[in-house]
């Protein structure tokens, strides 16, 4: 059964979803739960797709262009949109997904609702390598001062500002880098499936990408990986049990999800990586600690 799962399709789709989950995670880490990821995935896929198909660019520079477009798109949406918080922000990011989808449907140059054909070049090795590189960068991030700056900015804006942290900058940067990751995932996905159309990048996809992180855990980089792998592969595993089961797999899957979130709402993997290890050698309190305990 496991052997059946290790095929090119699954490696690519799982890897793409891991990158998307990390995009959501980066945005969430800086305080923005985003439902705009499908939109940025679309922008990345379309920008790179036009460059490779219509202009004959190689995949690598086209991918960079796709990511850059998403990064600047993220900045443009982020500066005005991130003034709002919570539910309103979810609505705004949902609106971004709808707008981009409808917008692409109306651009004749990229085929409208018909989409673009002929995207190719992504291999399972490229996807796997990308996951390792991005994962490595995130690992470095989570052991750097940036991690605690992000955590502080997310947790308490007033206190973080009093600690010299520029909240707007942190939030917009996290959102834009997350958007660039989603764009890169879109590039990889589009150039594997050959054919992309606006209906591939709807609000349901955005919700799924957010779900990867919510299910897996929001406090560390491994939670999103776990969520993405499980949500991508469980339907495939279920398929192995035969068509009788397959009809019920969505029901089963979302049932498990509901139960899980009821009992473990912080996600499956919710530990936090501490960015600074104690104790620093040679530091001991000089005065003895008074025994009285103030319980307040």
């Amino acid at each position: 059964m496991i052997a059946n799962l290790l095929n090119g399709d699954n490696v690519v789709f799982t890897g793409v979803n891991i990158i998307l989950a990390w995009g959501v995670y980066l945005s969430l880490m800086t305080g923005t739960l985003t439902f705009a990821m499908a939109a940025f995935m679309a922008i990345g896929a379309y920008v790179a797709g036009v460059l490779t198909v219509n202009f004959g660019w190689p995949l690598a520079p086209a991918a960079l262009a796709g990511m850059a477009a998403c990064f600047f798109g993220g900045l443009m949406v982020g500066f005005p949109a991130l003034r709002v918080r919570g539910l309103l922000l979810m609505l705004v990011t949902t609106g971004v997904t709808f707008s981009v989808q409808v917008g692409i449907e109306n651009i004749e140059y990229v085929g409208g609702v018909q989409g673009i054909r002929g995207l190719s070049g992504t291999t399972p090795a490229i996807v796997a390598g990308s996951v390792f590189v991005i994962g490595g960068l995130l690992w470095i991030l989570s052991h750097s001062p940036l991690q605690r700056i992000f955590d502080a900015a997310r947790e308490d804006e007033s206190v973080a500002a009093s600690l010299g942290i520029n909240i707007v900058f942190v939030r917009v940067a996290g959102f834009a880098v997350g958007a660039a990751l989603a764009g890169y995932a879109g590039v990889l996905w589009g150039h594997y499936v050959f054919f992309i159309a606006p209906q591939n990048f709807g609000i349901l996809e955005s919700v799924f990408f957010a779900l990867f992180v919510v299910l897996g855990g929001v406090n560390n980089m491994w939670g999103p990986v776990f969520g993405a792998v499980i949500i991508t592969l469980v339907p495939e595993i279920a398929r192995e049990f035969g068509s009788g089961f397959a009809e019920y797999r969505q029901l089963f899957f979302f049932g498990v999800l509901v139960v899980l979130l009821l009992f473990r709402s912080q996600g499956v993997l919710s530990f936090r990586t501490i960015s600074l290890k104690a104790p620093i050698k040679g530091l001991r309190p000089v005065t003895s600690v008074s025994e009285e305990r103030a319980d307040d």
Partner: protein, 239 residues
């Protein structure tokens, strides 16, 4: 002495509610002032205005000789203003050590982090025991110590403390005020707002009495302390 922080005819409001109406005061270098007043007098609002967390409706604030203008809270923090808000200014999800590190990183510092920790842990031994715990898991008193320790690890020019005694046991209140006295004697300019009038007046050089958003009385702390009947008239019963 040079003025490090001042306000002229400052008006602050939350929407239609005018919380602070035409307040003027100044804090000189190395001085400690207290703003005292009952609940709802506008003390916290003044602090939030000074650190640019809310924009003044009118009036002027100057910090280190320059008008505040449109400067952001984070800019002011890096320029040397430390605002410890009411109810502990710590990040609960970070460990004690990470909280200190973030505070240390605000401004370039000649002292290495490990060396900067030494006075902090001498002052607050409890923090060194708890250095790898989440700040959110500390007791209220320990969190207030951690918030005050931010002023020690990378000393600001001006320290704004909002109700350091709020919700603390008498032992912890004493400890918090000892820490503030330490900052004071190191030459830091301190402004605190308090309901705990007696503690605040004993520490401060001068004080302003705030009532319903207006300053109704000001003067050297000793003068105010010697006229408890006047304070009572403005503040009601107090500790």
């Amino acid at each position: 002495m040079a003025e490090v922080l001042g306000a002229k005819d400052l008006h602050l409001s939350y929407g239609p509610i005018n919380a602070v109406r035409g307040v003027s005061f100044h804090l000189d270098e190395g001085e400690t002032i207290a703003v005292i007043g009952a609940n709802g007098a506008g003390k916290t609002t003044i602090m939030r205005g000074l650190s640019a967390l809310i924009k003044p409706k009118s009036g002027e604030i100057s910090f280190l000789g320059e008008p505040l203008g449109r400067r952001k809270t984070s800019d002011l923090a890096r320029a040397g203003m430390l605002h410890i808000p009411e109810g502990r200014g710590t990040i609960g999800g970070l460990t004690v050590l990470e909280n200190l590190r973030v505070a240390y990183d605000i401004r370039p510092n000649d002292t290495a982090f490990a060396a900067a920790l030494e006075p902090v842990f001498n002052h607050f031994p409890r923090l060194s025991e708890r250095s790898s715990q989440r700040a959110g898991s500390l007791s209220g008193g320990e969190q207030q110590m951690l918030a005050l320790a931010r002023a020690l690890i990378n000393p600001p020019r001006v320290l704004l403390v909002d109700e350091p005694s709020l919700g603390l046991s008498p032992v912890m209140v004493k400890e918090a005020y000892q820490a503030l006295a330490g900052f004071q004697s190191s030459g830091m300019s301190v402004m605190l707002v308090e309901q705990n009038v007696r503690m605040a007046l004993r520490l401060a050089d001068r004080a302003y009495v705030l009532q319903q958003g207006e300053i109704v009385l000001e003067g050297p702390s000793d003068d105010l302390l010697s006229k408890p009947e006047v304070l009572d008239a403005y503040l009601g019963s107090h500790g």
